[in-house]
Symmetry: C2
Subunit: 159 residues, 2 copies
DNA sequence: TTTGTAATGTTATACTATTGCATTTGTTAT
DNA sequence: ATAACAAATGCAATAGTATAACATTACAAA
């Protein structure tokens, strides 16, 4: 992934999720961390759509699937998934989105469609650089930029 | 205000708050909206520091001042203050910061010091432009970018 | 004054997230 | 193998953030 994209409504989502799972497995092996059944289950739930998913939405789905769990369980799994880069937190929505990419340690910019709820990603080093530079001029040492852009996606613009 | 700044710890804060109040009064007159006592009181509380302030922090202060209020009261005032540009919401902290500037409709980038909790502002049209352009290439029409950068401010870097 | 709108009050509730401690599971070293 | 340790999970309670619904009051214009 070089620059970014917004999920197309017509894509083969079965395949999309399958790829996400493979990606997660490989990534966790390489990082030497444990992708437990529970963590994978929660990743699948979040990855089951390209829309922002709340922690309690995940809980609901788990309950429907018969694997009832406590909130803290979900939050712990989310912490893990975020730490390894398989999930992004969306601060402005108190929600989460599965990440299908490999950003390494590069910050990401999220595109959030107000109309359909879809979430896309950009990876713009220029933006990160500009922020670091401007902050640096004020003596501010940047740790982690949160960039979340609300708007309307191409598909919803048309309609 | 052209580009940005981070609040200096040593500044004359009395004067700083007084300026904020004048700014608020003028702005509300010009906009033809009502800056009620309550709204002003809440703005003053938020503006009483350059750190992020939570809604329930505001409530606590109000209680101490004898003007006990319900959460919804604070949230309504905050909605108002945000809508006229006197307060910025900090999504990543679920908190708020008073705005001493006049951005017009230009988006702002917030600098949040992890060490002291101080919050500064940047106004970087280049960042906004870069986001709009990159989003536009994906057919995404930008409404409102949320840019919040955590890190360590100059003062805390030294220490 | 009447009338309509904006602001506030009141109560309850919804939604989001963490703490603390007990237990289990998996890994590593003997 | 098994002891010892660390990571992950289970469980219950609670903390923290935000809104809904409806009644009332304050203000401004007609
Ligand atoms: Zn998909
Ligand atoms: Zn991503
Ligand atoms: Zn859309
Ligand atoms: Zn500002």
């Amino acid at each position: 992934m070089t620059s970014g994209s917004f999920p197309k409504p017509e894509h083969d989502h079965q395949r999309c999720v399958a790829r996400l799972v493979r990606h997660a497995e490989q990534l966790c092996i390489k990082a030497g961390v444990r992708l437990t059944v529970q963590r994978l289950a929660i990743l699948k739930i979040i990855g089951s759509s390209h829309k922002a998913t709340g922690a309690y939405d995940v809980l609901e789905v788990m309950a429907k699937q018969g694997q009832r769990a406590a909130p803290v369980t979900v939050y712990r799994a989310l912490d893990f998934l975020i730490s390894v880069g398989l999930v992004h937190r969306i601060s402005s929505l108190n929600a989460f989105i599965a990440c299908h990419h490999s950003h390494g340690s590069n910050p990401v910019q999220l595109l959030i469609c107000k109309a359909c709820g879809g979430v896309g990603e950009l990876e713009l080093p220029a933006v990160t650089r500009a922020l670091k530079e401007a902050a640096g001029k004020a003596g501010f040492s940047v740790d982690e930029p949160v960039v979340e852009v609300t708007g309307v996606c191409a598909h919803c613009c048309a309609a």
